[in-house]
Amino acid sequence: MQNANQSFHKTVVYSIVGLMMIPIIATFVYSIASSWGATILPDGFTLKWYVTLLSDERFLQAFGRSLFICFSTLALSVLLIMPVIFVVYYYFPKLDKFMNVLILLPFAVPPVVSSVGLLQLYADSDIQLVGTPWILMGTYFTIALPFMYRAISNSFASINLHDLMDAAHLLGASTPQAFLLVILPNLKKGLLASLFLSFSFLLGEFVFANMLVGTRYETLQIYLYNMRQTSGHFTSALVMTYFFFIFLLTWLATRFSRGAQS
């Protein structure tokens, strides 16, 4: 009975996951197929699509731009969010409720809607914003915010903030010193896990990039979109390369979050 049940549940899990894997596996096979026309299986295999992709200057540039934007956004977000959470938790715990409402806003307002306002407000501003990577960093900060705020505030809740701060103060540390040398190292794993996950979804962001900047600063997703008319094999190799990075980032995030729990 127990065994029959086990294999039933295993079958359910395997079949759903199996179905979910079809697009990924198919894309992978397509990316290494020399040609795959109107047949169920491809004709032969080759690595030439990856070679073409990795030697394409435009791809490398777009990828570099995406990495630059993601890194800068995350640095900016940490700089902006960390002090806020510390101040909220250490000095004004009552503000936490207010912050929790505030960070829901990016969820409630789809990026397309935000873009409408952003385009009208900043298209003709004195400081050039629309069409530059800077506006993407600002908007990416807002979409990473709910996620990073929750993850970091969970880490804050799991340490004895006041005891640690009191101990550091007793030993003669100033508040900024205590924060940087005592609190921050304690949050490191939770913070890194949230950074890797944010990185992977920022790398996939398309709406803001397309509406606010477009080809003026071609990111990875925009490049991918612009390549839609080229060979399907080539775009598959592109999608798989992207997927590999997502895999790497998720793997790192899981490793760090497991470390944070133990």
Binding site: N5, F8, H9, V12, V13, I16, V17, M20, I22, P23, I24, A26, T27, G37, T39, I40, L79, L80, P83, V84, V87, Y90, Y91, L102, L105, A108, V109, P110, P111, V112, V113, S114, S115, V116, G117, L119, Q120, L121, G138, T142, L145, L197, L203, G204, F206, V207, M211, Q221, L224, Y225, G232, T235, S236, V239, Y242, I246, F247, T250, A253, T254
Partner: protein, 283 residues
């Protein structure tokens, strides 16, 4: 000794750290939102409801709304059902498989937007491998990936990982002893699910459902990449009114945006009401 004034200053000084955060948040979140809200009521420089009545008078706009709602409701329902089945089975298999599957869903939850549209063109496009396979066995005559059914399949695909990740922790609230207890009292498995498990899980299920609906209504990249903006959903309408090649009407786009936010708020309110009536609230 500190004078009372400087003491008070000292108490409020940490709040200065909130300023940079609030500046960025205002510039990139609050200001655009405010612009949309205000300008949706401005038509030719005057305050009016003209933008809204234009939306309701246009069958093209209404079609966009109904397509968006159809896609998001069905993809949320089907995605939620599949995810519930997967998570409930997942808790009964050994931890190694479980961890691997959770890692896999974590990864696929970021597989959205443009890449997923391309992946589906390969398997379900006109000459896609799966399309050909299904045709060969006579299961389908033809499959149009670039219409509502194709989009529905893709939407369901990207809803499942999100639903799994949101539901997985909620199933911790389900005590295994309850199933044994129910079985001892003579309940069949489906009776246990209907009368014990689902009522306990209902707040989590409803909450997940809302997030899935919001996720689908706001989605833009997949449909845009798949149909080059030709399929009429509401986010594509909004985008084409502010960044298309002709007829830019930002105030009309603002009115549609406000309606989208109103729909989301309305669904959230219903959800809150249902959660308040559910099992957990009664205790």
């Amino acid at each position: 000794m500190l004078s009372p004034v400087s003491k008070r200053q000292k108490r409020w000084k940490p709040l200065l750290w909130l300023i940079p955060f609030l500046v960025f948040f205002s510039v990139f979140q609050l200001a655009p939102m405010g612009w949309v809200l205000i300008n949706s009521f401005i038509y030719d420089g005057d305050i009016s409801f003209e933008n809204y009545s234009e939306v309701f008078d246009s069958s093209f706009m209404l079609q966009g709304f109904s397509n968006s709602l159809w896609l998001s409701l069905w993809s949320a329902v089907i995605g939620l059902v599949i995810a519930t089945v997967l998570v409930s089975s997942l808790r009964r298999v050994d931890s190694k498989i479980r961890e691997a599957v959770i890692a896999f869903t974590n990864m696929t939850s970021n597989f959205t937007g443009v890449p997923i549209a391309f992946a589906f063109i390969i398997i379900l496009g006109i000459n896609g491998a799966v399309t050909l396979l299904l045709k060969k066995y006579g299961l389908i005559d033809d499959f149009n990936l670039y219409g509502q059914w194709g989009l529905l399949v893709i939407y369901i695909y990207f809803q499942i990982p999100l639903a799994v990740l949101l539901l997985y922790p909620a199933f911790d609230g389900l005590n295994d002893d309850w199933q044994s207890a129910a079985a001892l009292l003579g309940a069949k498995t489906w009776q246990y699910w209907l009368n014990v498990a689902l009522p306990v899980l209902s707040p989590a299920l409803l909450g997940t459902f809302i997030i899935l609906v919001a996720n689908a209504i706001g989605a833009y990249a997949t449909a845009y990449a798949l149909t080059s903006g030709n399929y009429n959903i509401i986010t594509i309408r909004i985008a084409s009114l502010v960044s298309g090649d002709l007829f830019l009407e930002p105030n009309l786009a603002a009115a549609i945006s406000v309606l989208v936010m109103a729909i989301l708020a309305f669904i959230t309110c219903i959800n809150q009401w249902l959660v308040a009536r559910s099992y957990h609230a009664k205790r």
